[in-house]
């Protein structure tokens, strides 16, 4: 409140302040040895002000009144500098006056689990992977995160939130001749992550899946390569589809990209505003939702970093593009209301539009029926490589593992699988999405955007889905 009063006295017509304490514990085991056991803590305060319609922001690790006075002064001075090269005055739309507290629901607080128990679980998973001869490198890791945050703004909002996340995973890498192959579980890039407690880690049963993924890594060394440059039916597993949603739906629906705010860095978007409510983003089987309320999602919270309450909104309905991820400022420009997508990665960063939980809604197919219904195609799972252009149009992804599908049955194992496409063509070729039985809320704890760089944690619910006439096998 001190910062808000100071900002007002210095001429700010709007101000908000966040005080954040962020704790993280990470454990990493490699080849039976504890590679890292780390506890980190960072805290500080960030003040954002709007002066004469231009933004300024300053932050400090010092939580004294003196430091807050200093950064509020600094933020106002920076806002005046922004005014030197300014355009239309910023309009934030209706006032946001949220009040309350939010706490991630957990059964087992991960910070109350003895370190010995966490290590024992990882070492057991590591040992299980070690039973498979031919594995060159084994990794197992666990992450626990707790962020406590106060938010207040000059409209009258005041909220307090505690977000808890639990993450973990295992990986096995096999090397033979000139080939190198890796398998991960439950998700690629080290770990699956959710908002929730240690119960999530236990549910993944890392030791119970360790031997399987180690065997798969070794088997991939001698598997047939993915057929080269052919067009076929593609069925994507849930975690790969989650990343596909993230890159080709989540990012292009960020309204700051559409308005050019990220043009120099993350890029823009092909989903320009004249397409809203008119453009067939996908087939009728495609329904995409942005929400910040679903259990386990890394985009689940009480309020965003502008104090807008958590909510759910469609982005694509029966294939039609109907919504964006928005802030107060961009929503106002579009003539809509913010759907609460402003998130900052820490006390020292401004909130920018980020994905919350952007999910592909479940369809009607049972997974086994979908395979049985496919005469000729490839099943791909677990991301290994991802690249997409600055408008989110042209993409190419690679997966850790693939299987040929022939006459309705999963066949031979395939290595070095890749596929490529153009976003709306790809989603319009989707003719089947699996049902809620195989729908999982996946976590992406490594989404980069903004300058200075910010890493966001986003959620993506997805079940396997089928896409027709996709180009696969682009390696060199």
């Amino acid at each position: 409140m001190h910062a808000l009063e100071t900002a007002h006295s210095l001429g700010a017509q709007y101000a908000d302040v966040r005080v954040v304490n962020h704790r993280e514990e990470s454990i990493s085991v490699k080849d039976g040895i504890v590679e890292a056991l780390d506890s980190s803590e960072t805290e500080g305060v960030g003040v954002r002000v709007l002066v004469n319609g231009a933004w300024g922001f300053a932050s400090s690790r010092e939580l004294t009144n003196q430091a807050v006075d200093h950064i509020t002064d600094q933020a106002v001075e920076i806002a005046h500098a922004s005014g030197i090269v300014s355009g239309e005055k910023v309009d934030l739309g209706p006032k946001v006056t949220s009040q309350g507290t939010y706490h991630t629901p957990v059964e087992i607080d991960p910070f109350n689990v003895p370190l010995e128990d966490k290590l024992a679980l990882l070492l057991k998973a590591d040992a299980e992977m070690g039973t498979e001869k031919g594995v060159r490198t084994r990794r197992a890791n666990a992450t626990s995160l707790k962020e406590h945050k106060y938010f207040a703004n000059s409209d009258g909002a005041f909220t307090e939130q505690t977000i808890i996340e639990t993450g973990g995973g295992i990986g096995a890498t096999a090397v033979g001749g000139s080939e190198i192959q890796a398998r991960s579980y439950p998700n690629a890039f080290g770990r699956q992550q959710v908002t929730g407690g240690w119960e999530a880690m236990l549910s993944w049963d890392l030791p119970g899946n360790a031997q399987r993924i180690a065997s798969e890594a070794v088997a991939l060394l001698t598997a047939d390569p993915c057929p080269s440059n052919i067009t076929t039916s593609l069925i994507l597993g849930g975690s790969q589809l989650a990343l596909q949603v993230h890159e080709s739906c989540g990012h292009p629906t960020e309204l700051d990209r559409v308005y050019g705010s990220e043009a120099a860095y993350a890029g823009t978007s092909f989903l320009t505003t004249e397409k809203l409510d008119k453009f067939n983003y996908g087939s009728p089987a495609v329904n995409l939702t942005a929400d910040s309320i679903r259990p386990l999602g890394l985009g689940t919270f009480g309020w965003d970093d502008e104090g807008v309450p958590a909510q759910s909104a469609p982005l694509v309905k029966d294939g039609l593009f109907v919504g964006y991820l928005m802030s107060r400022e961009t929503a106002s420009k579009l003539g809509r209301y913010s759907n609460g997508c402003m998130r900052a990665s820490g006390w020292n960063r401004i909130p920018i539009i980020r994905m919350v939980n952007v999910s592909l809604e479940p369809g009607t197919w049972k997974f086994d029926d979908l395979i049985a219904d496919t005469d000729d195609g490839i099943y791909m799972e677990s991301n290994r490589s991802w690249s997409i252009d600055d408008k989110r149009y042209n993409f190419q992804f690679g997966t850790e593992i693939g299987y040929e599908i022939k006459n309705g049955k999963m066949g031979r194992l395939l290595r070095n699988c890749t596929y490529t496409g153009i976003t709306p063509e790809f989603w319009n070729s989707c003719d089947a999405v699996c049902n809620a039985d195989s729908w999982v809320m996946w976590g992406t704890p490594n989404c980069g955007k903004g300058q200075p760089a910010q890493i966001a944690h986003t959620g993506h619910g997805a079940a396997p889905a089928r896409f027709r006439n996709v180009k696969v096998g682009v390696l060199k």
């Binding site: 803590e41 705010s261 960063r349 490589s385 690249s387 600055d390």
Partner: protein, 447 residues
């Protein structure tokens, strides 16, 4: 930023709390300000001040780490307690090589007072000049201008105390027209060395020349890469294989290639933490003095960079390339890379090309397969067809999929000037020239 005297006091205070045990303290502090612009206006404008203390605590071969940005007494007490608890819980690591002993550190010039005190108004005026030039051409400028100052301290219980302060500045802009764009960037530890108006003109010029791009068929082309693309080649080869750990894990492109000629004889790559033409840092995050390391010499692969852990495994001394604790699992990497220059200007390269492509920048480049460092990505912000020694028309963006090792084997010519670019990852500096490369593989195009 925490000055040397105060930094020493904090580090000694932490080490005193660890008495009887080996311990290592890293203190990173600094201020950074960034003015961001888009649609020819400043839309984000920020400043931050932070300091992070990281402690590695050892009980014989057991180790635990902790970090905090609280440097008051309770904050540091808790830091030591958390690191001690982590060490107690962690099983012994038989490969632990111990902490380094004190060494002599060469002080390198990387500090400019004017850069440290660069004001928001000064950044805004510079940005405003670029925006004005874009407006005059009916174009849309965006980008970021960053200035900052910081200090790194590494101290340990064996008597190591290493302190390095530096300033930094980076300007980058993307200018967009209706169907074209251009980009320019420069980095330095001295903000006054950045010719921001020239960078703006460069991006505007590329944008104007790029109007009405044509779609071409993907396939193999001779390419002339601006130094921005060379930086991507070098950074990818660095992250995916210049460190000893990646070699030990069998995922480096160097595997079975050390001592062999695998790149063009015109390619030489080295890391030199003391060279002020880059982003110098005289010691690494373990307090080991930086050694100059030849990584590729006239096309022959010489070997990786080491930290103490990966070096001990291979019977080699550290070359001073340990990363911060939070990235240590990734292994050592080169942090101040250089590529040798050649004889040709970009214009010479264009004039010598019968048919090929000039490419300003790569975008969203990702590893497809590690052993040959196969990378896929997109072109962005300026692609032009070259025919009969001249730029003939602008081209729509293309996707490529290409082994980077092979790309550097196919180098026909190297640019005569080099440029410094500072990456986002830990301030890694890369000074690189333009390149002319034959048979570069494009696998797709935009609609």
């Amino acid at each position: 930023m925490i000055e040397e005297k105060e930094a020493r006091k904090i580090c000694e205070g932490v080490l005193a709390r660890c008495k009887g045990n080996q311990a290592e303290v890293t203190l990173q502090s600094g201020e950074e300000s960034l003015t961001r612009f888009a649609n020819n206006i400043i839309h984000q404008n920020v400043a931050e001040s932070d300091a992070q203390v990281t402690l590695r605590f050892f009980i014989d071969q057991q180790s635990g780490t902790a970090s905090t940005n609280r440097t008051d007494k309770p904050g540091l007490d808790q830091l030591v307690e958390r690191a001690r608890n982590n060490a107690k819980t962690s099983p012994p690591d038989p490969n632990y090589p111990g902490l380094p002993e004190p060494a002599k550190y060469q002080r390198v010039a990387a500090w400019d007072s004017s850069t440290a005190g660069y004001s928001a108004e000064k950044r805004a005026r510079a940005v405003g000049a670029v925006c004005q030039m874009a407006v005059e051409q009916g174009l849309n400028a965006s980008g970021a201008f960053t200035t900052g100052s910081g200090a790194l301290v590494v101290a340990n219980s064996q008597g190591v105390f290493a302190y390095h302060s530096q300033t930094s500045a980076d300007f980058q802009t993307v200018v967009m027209g209706e169907d074209s764009s251009g980009r320019a960037q420069a980095s330095s530890w001295n903000a006054d060395e950045l010719d921001i108006e020239a960078l703006g003109r460069e991006a505007i010029d590329t944008t104007l020349k790029g109007r009405n791009p044509r779609k071409i068929e993907p396939g193999e082309y001779t390419v002339i890469f601006e130094h921005y693309v060379t930086e991507d080649l070098l950074s990818s080869l660095n992250f995916y294989g210049m460190g000893a750990q990646s070699l030990q894990e069998g995922r480096s492109w160097m595997v079975e290639r050390i001592g062999k000629q695998v790149m063009s004889p015109s390619i030489s790559i080295w890391d030199d933490g003391l060279d002020i033409k880059g982003a110098p840092l005289p010691f690494d995050y373990e307090g080991v003095p930086k050694q100059r390391v030849d990584i590729v010499k006239q096309g022959v692969v010489m070997g990786p960079v080491y930290d103490r852990y990966s070096g001990a495994k291979m019977g080699k001394p550290s070359t001073g390339h340990a990363t911060p604790i939070s990235f240590r699992g990734f292994g050592p990497i080169a942090m101040n890379l250089f590529m040798a220059t050649g004889e040709m200007t970009v214009q010479d390269m264009i004039a010598s090309t019968k048919r090929g492509l000039y490419i300003n920048r790569f975008w969203y480049t990702r590893l497809v397969h590690p052993r040959d460092c196969v990378i896929t990505g997109m072109t962005r912000d300026g692609v032009f067809m070259i025919e009969d020694g001249e730029v003939s028309f602008p081209v729509k963006n293309l996707r490529y999929t290409m082994p980077y090792v092979q790309a550097l084997a196919n180098v026909e010519a190297v640019g005569k000037s080099s440029h410094l670019l500072i990456g986002e990852f830990g301030g890694t500096g890369t000074r690189v020239p333009a390149l002319k490369i034959n048979a570069f593989n494009f696998t797709g195009s935009t609609v």
